[in-house]
Amino acid sequence: MNRSAPRSIDQYLKALREELAGEDAALIQDALYDAEEYLRAEVAAHPDKSESDVLELIASTYGAPDEVASAYRDTEAKVKAAMTTPRKIPESGAGAFFGVFLDARAYTSLFFMLLSLATGVIYFTLTVTGLSLSAGFAVLIIGLPFFLIFIALTRVVSLAEGRLIEAMTGERMPRRPVHQGLAAGFWPRVIEMLKDPRTWTTLAYLILMLPLGVVYFVIAVVGLSVSLALIFTPLADLADRYGWFDIAGGLNTSPAWLGSVWAAPLLVLAGVLLLTLLMHLARGVGRLHALYAKALLVAPTAPRAAL
């Protein structure tokens, strides 16, 4: 408590970051963003005082870094508890295996797998176009501004992708853009941005989203069509056999025994099992992808702004 009180906005943010060490990277990003908004507004509201004079009083108004950090921790825990519905899914056995159908995350993850082909194409196109145009424009006067706008755009896209992933998989992702540090001037900021590994990992994520999206999409589509076909073909065949409705030419199966009546329940069973496995797979892919996205899109706790 009696450590030297922060005397500048950067020192305050650094202290807050230290207090939050070990917390979720996304939470830290949000907390720093909020603190910076407040501190800058407070400094701007007192043009007659110096930054260190304003910061001297900050512990009694905004709160000392440790108080603010604990407020974020508490609120986060409460919100998490309130927003996660308690599960009644059995822990083991057949209940756990088929319980995946009661898990909303499995459905949203499956949807994410289907969607990722579309987002992958968009991200890939954006990134490759941006990079090649930047390279092409590099000799021209618009080269650098174009590149900077392109990087800014990738940050917006990465925030949006984070929101999508949190909605689909429940993994906590940033709700605010990353804290940009002091406006130290144009060139220092450009150099800082170029040195920031997150700039490059974000580009890598956006490019890799295309191959990943293709794989996710194929798994989801093949899994869905095969399992649903297995489930419904025998039913359609039975309906056709008993004349409830007519399939032109009847169903042709190969080998022929697949079309026999006794094979029908086995096919339905296989379809149900396959569908269940697909749901498990989707949920697993969702979790893994969220961790992967977090590693590439969210700045690690170690800050580049740590002076």
């Binding site: 603190a35 908004e37 800058r40 709160g63 974020y72 609120t75 409460k78 927003m83 804290h179």
Partner: protein, 125 residues
């Protein structure tokens, strides 16, 4: 030791009250407000020092927003990062009404015991 006891009590009390006060402020306000403005309104209502540490309102604002009681939009700012402006939703208003009733009941109940001069007679306003 006394001081930290008092602080802890205040902090425990504030737990749910911050949300109620924030909803009330946003409900009364004609225009959308951002975090710093709300913090300053809290402070000015209490002679310049807010009962809540102003840093503690931001996570609550985000939590209320995540629960669809508030909506928000981002507006660029000259003095720092873009500001997030908040506005109360219809759901927020109905929750506010419910919480206000709960708060009134709680306050009356507590006052019955700790209100000055009503210790043995029960509460009379």
């Amino acid at each position: 030791m006394d001081d930290s006891n008092g602080r802890k009590f205040q902090k425990d009390l504030n737990g749910g009250l911050v949300g109620l006060v924030l909803l009330a402020i946003l409900n009364q306000s004609a225009e959308d407000l951002y975090g710093y403005e709300i913090a300053k309104r809290l402070a000015s209502a209490n002679d310049g020092t807010s009962i809540f540490k102003e840093g503690t309102i931001y996570p609550v604002l985000r939590a209320l927003s995540a629960a669809n009681l508030l909506t928000s939009r981002i507006v660029p700012s000259y003095s720092g990062p873009p500001r997030r402006y908040y506005r109360i939703t219809d759901q927020g208003r109905s929750v506010l009404a419910e919480w206000t009733a709960i708060w009134a009941g709680t306050r009356d109940f507590v006052d019955r015991f700790v209100g000055q001069g009503h210790l043995d007679k029960g509460y009379s306003p």
